[in-house]
């Protein structure tokens, strides 16, 4: 395997509604910032790939327009995934492995505010037998949540403690959206939203964007002092039908972690868990010991969850701790689809594999 590292990460401030800027205008400063961090010009980037969905923007081929934020003339080597940007990073990593390129930019944007995001997210469901029911991903997550709580014996208080942790952590993240000091008792006193979920168990709706630069071998060593080497990365998917899955575990995360060699201890773990119970499922599945691993120092997806972006942000946040010299080994996770349908696990280390 070729040594490949994250060398730079940048993100836009996450907000509920950016009323002043369109998607290109949100992205443009992020794409400038990420290049400036490592002093790369546009010509120095060998491959550009991004993740987004046109249904969120409400504009067919909006992903083509998003390239205006980067600049695509003369034509560039470019690709797009209708997935969270974490999967764009995966494509970039694969292309780096081929040896065809030495640097790549993966970015993602998601403006949840123009449409009704709950209705937009319904469009990813099976169109034959599930979409016509009118169910939305919050209802599906609530079903998963009850199956997990009753199956494993965890409680709503355990879930609230995840929200308390992530919102507190978010206070140190200037790009976070929902932050502050809360107590488990205070959160449990709030009314139910879609039982057994309360609002604090659900992610905020966000407008945001982020970008990551990957570089191979000596190129990475030349660009930064502490490259965040991608020593393992894998993603797996499960059946779309909820009835076909064991909702109390995340089998796809387990296998992806195994393939990415995500065993042993980590200084930091950034988990893309849009719902509190999903964080518990992921922590169980990944065997994370909160005594040695700091979970979601950024505040995670409960502090800001730009759709199609938040997974790549987890990789960026985890990598940033390695780039800063603060962490020697970091775990990043990204998810896509309802109820943790598809999961990506990425292991980042200060030392190359």
């Amino acid at each position: 395997m070729r040594d490949v590292a994250v060398v730079a990460f940048a993100q836009a401030p996450n907000v509920r509604r950016d009323s002043d800027r369109n998607e290109v205008e949100i992205l443009m400063p992020v794409l400038h910032e990420v290049r400036e961090k490592v002093g790369l010009e546009r010509d120095d980037i060998d491959f550009v790939v991004h993740g987004s969905t046109d249904f969120q923007a409400g504009m067919p081929f909006s992903f083509v327009g998003a390239l205006d934020a980067y600049g695509a003339w003369p034509p560039i080597n470019e690709s797009h995934v209708e997935m969270d940007g974490a999967w764009a990073l995966y494509e970039a990593w694969v292309k780096l492995q081929t040896g065809e390129i030495d640097t790549a930019l993966a970015f993602a944007y998601g403006k949840g505010s123009p449409g009704d995001l709950v209705d937009v997210l319904r469009l990813q469901l099976d169109p034959y037998l599930v979409f016509p029911l009118g169910i939305d991903p919050i209802g599906m997550a609530a079903i998963q949540c009850r199956a997990y709580l009753e199956g494993v014996g965890r409680t709503e208080a355990d879930m609230a403690s995840v929200a308390v942790r992530d919102r507190r952590n978010g206070m140190t993240n200037p790009c976070a959206q929902v932050t502050g000091e809360f107590t488990v008792e205070g959160l449990l006193a709030e009314p139910m939203f879609v039982s057994p979920l309360r609002r604090h168990d659900c992610p905020p709706i966000s407008d945001g964007a982020c970008a990551v630069i990957l570089a191979a071998g000596d190129r990475a060593r030349d660009l930064v002092e502490h490259p965040a080497w991608v020593v393992g990365i894998d993603h797996r998917i499960e059946a779309p039908g909820l009835g076909m899955r064991d909702l109390t575990v995340s089998e796809s995360t387990r296998i992806a972690a195994e393939k990415a060699n995500a065993s042993g201890t980590f200084d930091v773990a950034e988990l893309h868990a849009p719902f509190t119970h999903q964080s518990l499922i992921l922590e169980d599945t990944l065997g994370i010991d909160a005594a040695v691993t700091q979970v979601n120092p950024s505040g995670g997806a409960l502090a800001a969850n730009p759709f199609m972006v938040a997974g790549l942000t987890r990789i960026g946040e985890a990598a940033q701790r390695v780039l800063d010299g603060a962490a020697g080994r970091a775990l990043a996770h990204a998810t896509s689809g309802p109820c943790l349908q598809q999961n990506l696990v990425c292991v980042l280390e200060a030392r190359e594999g």
Partner: protein
């Protein structure tokens, strides 16, 4: 620079016409005729709603593997919707449910009209409430209701 960006309303609407294929065609036709069907896999498991393939062996199973299952069953998990959204199948508070029908080995996702959250529990028995006008689709099941409710 303008003070605030201009905004404009826009509606995206598509009437997608979808082919159901050899298995789901029989499934929704069964619902129209008040019968729920599943797929019997090579190992003998019954999957509801049916699949075109065997999830264990990936063999093509087709319509020949379809079997009828009961129209009553057990709730395996659920969620209570306090405030229904416009897309939801019921106007009053209701439960989303996974229901394992009698004779099935996997649960079906649908809605349960139970009156109140206190009336719902994992393990409770429920039955299909058929829609008055059935055309061949998942909404031919209007929803589920507690067993013996009608």
């Amino acid at each position: 620079m303008t003070e605030h960006s201009l905004t404009a309303s826009h509606v995206v609407e598509y009437d997608y016409t979808r082919s159901l294929g050899p298995v789901l065609s029989h499934f929704v036709t069964g619902l129209r005729d008040r019968v729920v069907r599943g797929t019997r896999t090579k190992s003998g498991r019954v999957i509801v709603p049916p699949l075109e393939f065997d999830p264990d062996t990936y063999e093509d199973l087709g319509a020949d593997a379809l079997v009828d299952v009961g129209e009553a069953g057990v709730v395996t998990s659920w969620a209570w919707v306090h405030e229904p959204r416009p897309s939801h199948p019921l106007d009053q508070p209701f439960a989303w449910v996974l229901v394992q029908l009698d004779g099935a080995d996997t649960p079906l996702l649908h809605a349960l009209d139970a009156g109140g959250e206190d009336a719902v529990s994992t393990g409770m028995r429920v039955q299909v409430r058929w829609a008055q006008d059935r055309v061949g689709g998942i909404r031919d099941i209007a929803c589920f209701e507690p067993e013996g409710a009608s």
